[in-house]
């Protein structure tokens, strides 16, 4: 019974639950708590899948030892082995994707860092975090960060600086520093790997997309705390509208750019509208955050206590 329950739980947490969570608009008011909840759901899904596999393995082992041999028919044994194989495959893919993606990402960042370190000009980081700030002398406005354990960078182009006043620039730097300090890139790496590792019929891209949006909003909030909503919103608008004069860049046309344009536009729009105070009223936010954190705890604890622990105890008795 346990392997079946855990298996169902894993599937539910991988697909249907993200679909439901993805429609909860209120999360944008408490992005940090929401990301914690998403992480709890993802972790619970992985643990359920692992637990299901372990329970199956144990059952197969104990069955083979029982007097009378394989008490269950070959069909059910076959089904057990199939699910076990799937579990092992998912875990193997997860590990593989994590390792190879990490290597590729770090190589890309290392190369880019050597480019900007040499071709850029240093500037102070007024928000006071250790990341070095570099200015690229180019008219196209852009601002981004290069995450790393110790050699992170924030890069801003001349074109971007020209479009922002001093406080708006502060907002941009604070936003990027927030990403670096909280290592949001690692969270994205994990969710990307999970999305790739779980089989196609089961997984959902919603978790990855939602977490991406929420992390941007969390960084926006950091900037708002320092400089206020207006400069932050102005910075968003200045840098996204400004970039549309990129028609001279012949190389720019990734596949599906219209999809990307539509999606990206609505993302910026959502971020600006959010700053207009749309969503949960400020007074209610701590309560909402607490509720979300509590849900995260429930998601982690309830399956563990109701399914996994009793099974673990039984397994211990069998094995020990």
């Amino acid at each position: 019974m346990t392997p079946l329950l855990l298996g169902i739980l894993a599937v539910v947490l991988a697909g249907p639950v993200p679909s439901v969570l993805g429609r909860v608009g209120a999360f944008t008011s408490v992005p940090r708590a929401a990301v914690v909840l998403w992480q709890a759901v993802a972790l619970a899904a992985v643990l359920s899948a692992v637990g299901s596999g372990l329970a199956l393995a144990l059952r197969l082992v104990t069955m083979s030892g029982r007097a009378g041999g394989w008490a269950l028919g070959p069909f059910r044994i076959g089904a057990h082995l199939l699910v076990l194989a799937l579990t092992v495959t998912v875990l193997a893919r997860l590990s593989w994707v994590l390792i190879t993606n990490a290597r590729t990402l770090r190589a890309i960042r290392r190369r880019h860092r050597s480019l900007v370190d040499v071709a850029g000009t240093t500037a102070p980081n007024p928000t006071g975090t250790p990341a070095a700030v570099l200015v690229l002398h180019h008219d196209v406005p852009t601002a981004y960060c290069v995450p790393a354990l110790r050699a992170s960078r924030v890069v801003v182009s001349d074109g971007a600086i020209a479009r922002l006043d001093a406080v708006e620039l502060d907002a941009v730097l604070t936003h990027e520093n927030a990403h670096l300090r909280a290592r949001h890139d690692l969270v994205i790496e994990v969710f990307t790997a999970l999305w790739i590792a779980f089989p196609r019929g089961v997984r959902s891209r919603i978790a990855l997309d939602q977490v991406r949006n929420l992390l941007e909003m969390e960084a926006d909030d950091d900037a708002v705390r320092l400089v206020g909503a207006v400069p932050m919103a102005r910075a968003l608008v200045a840098l996204s509208i400004g970039s549309s004069d990129r028609s001279s860049h012949a190389s720019v046309a990734p596949a599906g750019v219209d999809d990307l344009a539509g999606h990206a536009t609505s993302q910026v729009l959502r971020r600006v509208e959010r700053l207009a105070g749309a969503g949960t009223r400020r007074a209610a936010r701590p309560v909402l955050a607490a509720a979300v954190y509590l849900t995260a705890v429930v998601v982690m604890v309830v399956p563990t206590v109701t399914i996994a622990l009793p099974w673990l105890r039984a397994a211990w008795r069998v094995v020990g």
Binding site: P124, P141, T142, Y144, L236, S244, A264
Partner: protein, 154 residues
Amino acid sequence: MRQRSKVPTWRRPHTLPDVVNRLGELEREVMNELWSAPSPMLVRDVHAALSRDRDLAYTTVMTVLERLARKRMVERDLDGRAYRYRPAQTKDALVAEAMSDALDGAGALRSEALVRFVDGITSTDAQALREALARVEAGSRATADTPPGGPTRP
């Protein structure tokens, strides 16, 4: 009470924060020397140029040049017994390559490697954005505790 940051000194000459990588800083200075030189330079020429206002070990300059060669930022040719160094690409070419990385970011991992402030591919909704911005500004004017945003634009 919302804290306001001081206006940063973007337009004035700055002092480098301590945490800026010293070696990276040297790499930049060496490259700038090579870019402004009319012809390939010997290590001792680079060292002479850089140590005009400070103490810099010859071996340090040599190490930096070797690192840059390994990163393929500079190329070198043997001239007698010493190497002459020259930049592998112009500074503009490097800037263009960096910008290309940042903007084009096509391919799933490339767009994940650099975390952009905003995905600036905006085609049609400039108007909607401006309207939303107006709402943010109106909202903040309505709240008494927020003074009107920022110093005047240049």
